[in-house]
Symmetry: C2
Subunit: 193 residues, 2 copies
């Protein structure tokens, strides 16, 4: 049964489209979200990449089989974070990024309007955070938006050091199913608050 | 001041991209959501249309100015509803559709997996609904997901009659700002529950 599930997950993984922009972290989160959905625990989805369409070919009247084809389009900067959804009645919202840097997470990875978006949703009662993977150490951290804001208020640096994640963030231990059990961390945080 | 706001809204409207698929109802909802965001009342966004990319042109090494161009891509069926976000701490999720039919709303407008998604999020404590515009009458209704499910359980018809919306739904009166004040209805519903 477990082997079948694993096979299904791999098949699904192959079918997920990322517009050639996907990262391993994204794959792991998408698979984990799929597991949470299948288990009816949480409904969190990655938003599609916004695209500005310039040219479209419509199928001719005589050819009803073929589909509309986009012939020219461009990637746009997202105005919100990539992931949002619901868990235990709470609105969840986060951005996921990986860095190859061994000692710091460069803030250029996060758009200003994404930080603004996290401010908005936390002020409205939502749970906002970052998931950051340091690929060199193969470590994943969940950093609450509030701790991101504290850092930004006290530091003028253009990056967040790894030890800030170790101190203020939560290490997400990888597991078999789901691969990245980040909602365990949210459970802990919800218990405390 | 009001004229300036209106001008700005019109300018923003022109800049919003819908992949040639937008409807007037979508425009009105997007403008209303923008108003709610500007007023810091709610953070509800339309998800970009999911697109499957087949061919991409990368800029040559010698041409660092030009951007990545998508040369072949196809529209995909969305797996969730189009709109979600947060209002007064609550997770909000809905689908918006308009119909030219004068007497019924044909259910072929809603994908099965979108109804499944609404079931999931309401069972998780979210507020789910449809916004349906009957263009012939220029009337907009908000129908709670629970009332949609009741109808589907008791009827085998492939459409929902207008009078079901009049009886169980909530009429959204159009206004100046925001154009479609659907969160007023949610306020009423939250007061009662």
């Amino acid at each position: 049964m477990k082997v079948q599930n694993e096979l299904q997950l791999l098949l699904n993984q192959k079918n997920i489209q990322y517009g050639n922009r996907g990262t391993n972290l994204e794959n792991d989160i998408n698979l984990s979200n799929k597991y949470y959905i299948d288990q009816k625990q949480a409904y969190i989805y990655k938003k599609p990449t916004p695209i500005k369409i310039s040219k479209v070919d419509y199928p001719s009247k005589h050819n009803k089989v073929s589909k509309v084809v986009i012939r020219e389009a461009y990637f746009e900067a997202p105005s919100t974070t990539d992931y949002n959804g619901i868990y235990k009645g709470k609105y969840i919202d986060f951005e996921a990024k990986e860095t190859q840097n061994k000692t710091v997470f460069p803030l250029e990875n996060i758009h200003k309007h994404q930080i603004e978006h996290l401010r908005n949703i936390t002020s409205c009662g939502g749970i906002g955070f970052l998931i950051v993977r340091f690929t060199a150490h193969q470590k994943n951290f969940l950093l609450l938006a509030e701790d991101l804001f504290s850092y930004l208020e006290t530091s003028s640096q253009k990056s967040i050091p790894l030890n800030y994640f170790e101190e203020k963030g939560y290490l997400i231990e990888e597991s078999y199913l789901p691969r990245l059990p980040y909602l365990k961390i949210i459970d802990k945080i919800m218990e405390v608050s």
